[in-house]
Symmetry: C2
């Protein structure tokens, strides 16, 4: 389901949260579907339960999942996170594009770079 990169300098809890977020965003996890329990996912990823718990807490904070004590974590309805995700991600893209332009890269070259990413596999 998820593979972590232990050599990456980014915190494990952030990696877990982002990978699950991406799975949800792409439909790999449907709304209403139950996520693995904190303890089970921790075992699967060879990570401490606290680390998974922090990832889940962040995901709930952003509206991607709903937590029910004693039962588990469930994927939220798309309406709860789609707008905020699009806004966040397009904001990042805009910032990066500004930096790319400031560095002197031409418009066509920048567009080509983005197109290539989308046309890969």
């Amino acid at each position: 389901m998820i593979v972590l990169d232990f050599r990456d300098k980014r915190p494990l809890n952030e990696q877990v949260a982002e990978k699950i977020m991406n799975l949800i965003a792409q439909g790999g996890l449907a709304p209403g579907e139950r996520l693995p329990s904190v303890r089970n996912l921790a075992i699967d990823l060879s990570v401490n339960p606290n680390t998974v718990q922090r990832a889940y807490a962040a995901l709930e904070e952003k509206g991607y999942i709903t937590t029910i004590t004693g039962r588990g974590n469930y994927v939220s309805d798309e309406s709860n996170w789609k707008d905020s995700l699009y806004g966040e991600v397009l904001g990042e893209l805009k910032e990066t594009a500004l930096r790319v332009r400031a560095a002197g890269v031409g418009k066509e070259e920048a567009l080509k770079c983005v197109r290539e990413v989308y046309e890969r596999d």
Copy 2:
């Protein structure tokens, strides 16, 4: 000349290096121009000399500046860093685009976002 964000979680030495790099890329610092000494910039930024030294070392490693022991640090000629800057900045764009795609944003919407940045003023 430069203002650091001490609340930002990013390392100070990286912030210093990036801000100087941007100044150079945008012509705020001309080739041949001398940078502030390690000690003076450290005082200006309220930071330890070691931190500035690390920033300068990184900048020299990437070809943005040339260091002469006993004299100072000087902005390198554009030919020394233009390629590496393009590579770095396009790499960032690629990564961001991947994240945008993973979030479920469509190709046309992403391209439109980049186009808008380039067509602004």
